[in-house]
């Protein structure tokens, strides 16, 4: 009897201790999540009371919303290029910054800084970088006699411009790779060297498998991040020209806050959630084939 009272008291105290987190989670996360799903089944302009429409928003999105299809296309193309490019470049950068040179800490800081700068400021800088006349890129192209490119004014160049710009953020992935690279035990390299491995073989057969969990992490974060691009297109192009940079979240924002179709926007958000969830699950499932965990081997 006594024991169970003590247990109950202990349980109560336990809940009391985690209650700030619980309350926060229920009020600030779970509540809005449930609310947004309910709203996705209504027509709601945030002023007049919501009107129940069932699955009509979802039906309209899939049946005849050309902007939804465009937004999905733009975002998918962006992700298909920006994610692999980011993975490769940040790994390459991390390997360079993993060399033992004087002043390496300074270099690491310099390459990481772009990743923590605020998106709005960065977008403003890139606007000038992409300027057709006098912008950094076109000036460089001009040295080789290449005529100026209208980066953000031409529909076929605007999205590639954003993909190029995504490289600005490789510092974030780099710092995680660096941690991964530094945790690779040196004796593995030594053993490989004794077996006569060259630097490519060492990279292919030691480094890559050992940092594969880090690659998985960066891949998932990259996919999620590229499906959530918003600030840069909001500041730089507003989705134009001709919807060539209409990223999914930008379209969602326009629907919700510019055209006041919150119900429709909630439905868009849930579809995005489903897409990201599915992609993440696919990546996770595939990871059993290519990600190597040291702990598993020991078992």
């Amino acid at each position: 009897m006594r024991g169970s009272r003590l247990l109950r008291k202990e349980a109560f105290e336990g809940y009391a201790f985690i209650s700030p987190w619980l309350v926060g989670f229920i009020c600030l996360t779970l509540g809005p999540v449930v609310f947004s799903f309910l709203m996705s089944l209504t027509q709601w302009d945030m002023i007049n009371p919501p009107k129940w429409v069932g699955a009509a928003n979802y039906a309209a999105i899939f049946a005849d919303d050309f902007r939804f299809r465009q937004a999905l296309k733009v975002t998918a193309i962006y992700a298909a290029f920006a994610v692999p490019l980011g993975l490769v470049c940040s790994l390459a950068l991390a390997m360079l910054l993993n060399l033992n040179l004087r002043g390496m800490r300074t270099f690491r800081t310099i390459f990481y800084i772009p990743a923590i700068l605020p998106g709005v400021a960065v977008s403003m800088v890139w606007l000038t970088v992409f300027r057709p006349h006098g912008g950094v890129f076109n000036s460089i192209l001009g040295w080789f006699g290449i005529p100026p490119v209208s980066w953000l004014q031409e529909p076929q160049w605007a999205l590639p411009s954003f993909i190029i710009m995504s490289l600005w953020g490789v510092g974030g992935g780099m710092i995680i790779y660096l941690a991964g690279l530094q945790s690779v035990p040196t004796q593995l390299y030594e053993a490989a060297e004794i077996d006569g491995a060259g630097s490519w073989t060492k990279f292919r057969n030691v480094t890559l498998p050992m940092i594969s969990p880090t690659i998985l992490f960066n891949l998932i974060m990259g996919v999620i991040g590229s499906f959530q691009v918003f600030t840069s297109s909001f500041i730089m192009t507003q989705g134009g020209p001709a919807y060539s940079t209409l990223f999914y979240v930008l379209y969602l924002y326009q629907k919700a806050f510019r055209y006041l179709q919150m119900g429709y926007a909630c439905a868009l958000a849930w579809i995005l959630f489903a897409i990201i969830l599915a992609l993440t699950l696919v990546v996770f499932k595939s990871s059993a084939r290519w990600v190597y965990y040291e702990a598993e081997l020991k078992r």
Binding site: I47, D64, F66, L152, E154, L260
Partner: protein, 427 residues
């Protein structure tokens, strides 16, 4: 924290505040003062002007106090929406014609017809284009217009003189525009690239549609009629100015500075822009040439120009509508407009003020200011549909393709018309 006698500090301070408030009331012998909240956007000049008017209004109406809330132009719509949703909107607000119809369609504004009728308000003094354009929505009067923004053809007089060309006037049509613009377009530094243009494209592509005898929507506002030849041929003319006649900078050429900056830096001979631009932009940016305003050229069928502006409205959820109407009457009166014309060079929506010296005899360029008043009758306001903003955004994105010369106006307009039809059905 604790106050005296161990009372919680908050409770103590509340008590003090109540006591203070009570003693304040006791001094004035129960003169009930109603505070109304008024939202507007304003630059420094305008803020000072409005504050002075409010002081005069409060003197005339001791029972009403006006709290002015200044919000940037681009945020007023959000503010109205959010505060209405939250149940505490302002009582009176200034509204731009850009977002009037969406707001009115949401039922946020109080109908004014009964007030106007009861007080015999002199609505006849106002330009009908303004009252119909952004005063009424679906036949109901929701706001009283104050400022008019009407677009005219600004031209660089000095550049015209240097080239010995006649100034634009009422006889000009599109052919004449192209003919003169060609003579002004050149490569001045010989690097093989144009750096001076006769004309610059304004953002309002709709103007070319209306001038060509076409329209964006049908008269009953239920269908998009851009797919008719008279409509899309107007759009095509606009694109031709860039891609065929090559008398206007392309989007790429204008990307660095923007068309207006190109004009104020003397690189463009003619540009269509709003009446407000002379005071707010040109007076600061134009240093080394003389400019003037002229009528927009006549298209193949008509002369059409942009008209829009600002107005005052009462929020439907206001609890002090009578006081709000008193204030609204004052703010749309002749004093207000005379003041706005004199200090901010705004085209007044009251004909009696517009035609007076207060506006016409301002001592500042453009010399032929009258053109703005004469162009009001050619003004085409934004169509009165709830989805106006979404529609414009879709259309603007499609028109990018035409202006860039990627596709013909005909194919784009034929493709986009059903999309707009669908949007109109579901608004």
């Amino acid at each position: 924290m604790r106050g005296p006698n161990g009372m919680p500090l908050i409770l103590f301070s509340l008590l003090c505040a109540t006591a203070l408030a009570l003693s304040g009331c006791a001094n004035k012998v129960a003169a009930p003062v109603t505070a109304i909240r008024f939202t507007t956007w304003a630059n420094d000049v305008e803020e000072l002007r409005i504050r002075r008017l409010i002081a005069r209004f409060e003197k005339q109406h001791p029972g009403i106090k006006v709290e002015m809330e200044i919000t940037p132009w681009s945020r007023v719509l959000d503010k109205l929406m959010i505060s209405s949703a939250g149940g505490r909107p302002p009582d009176v607000t200034r509204i731009s014609s850009e977002w009037f119809h969406p707001i009115a369609a949401k039922g946020l504004l109080e109908p004014l017809d009964q007030f106007v009728k009861r007080d015999n308000y002199d609505l006849e003094d106002f330009y009908p284009q303004a009252v119909e354009g952004w005063g009424r929505h679906k036949g109901v009067l929701y706001q009283i217009p104050t400022d008019i923004d009407v677009h005219a053809l600004y031209y660089n007089k000095t550049m015209f003189d240097e080239h010995n060309l006649p100034y634009p006037d009422w006889s000009w049509d599109w052919d004449k525009l192209v003919e003169v613009a060609k003579k002004l377009t050149k490569d001045t530094n010989g690097d093989g690239r144009l750096d001076q243009w006769g004309y610059g494209l304004d953002f309002w592509w709709q103007g070319y549609v209306y001038a060509n005898g076409g329209a964006v929507l049908s008269k009953d506002l239920t269908r998009c009629v851009l797919d008719r030849p008279e409509s899309y041929e107007g759009v095509q003319f606009m694109a031709d100015l860039v891609n065929r006649y090559r008398v206007a900078p392309s989007d790429q050429d204008a990307a660095n500075l923007g068309v207006i900056k190109l004009f104020t830096s003397g690189k463009i001979g003619m540009v269509i822009s709003g009446s407000w631009a002379s005071k707010l932009i040109f007076s600061q940016e134009i240093k080394d040439f003389v400019y003037d305003a002229a009528p927009v050229p006549k298209g193949r069928a008509a002369r059409a120009t942009f008209i829009g502006g600002a107005a005052y409205a009462i929020l439907a959820r206001s609890k002090h509508k009578e006081e709000a109407w008193e204030f609204l009457k004052f703010m749309t009166g002749k004093d207000y407009m005379r003041d706005a014309a004199l200090k901010s060079h705004i085209v007044p929506s009251r004909r009696s003020v517009a035609e007076s010296g207060a506006y016409l005899q301002l001592d500042a360029p453009p010399e032929h200011r009258r053109v703005f008043l004469d162009l009001i009758r050619c003004g085409v306001p934004k169509p009165g549909v709830a989805c106006a903003q979404e529609m414009d955004e879709i259309l603007n994105n499609r028109m990018d393709l035409v202006r860039l010369g990627k596709r013909s106006a005909e194919s784009v307009c034929r493709e986009v018309a059903p999309v707009i039809d669908e949007l109109l059905r579901h608004q």
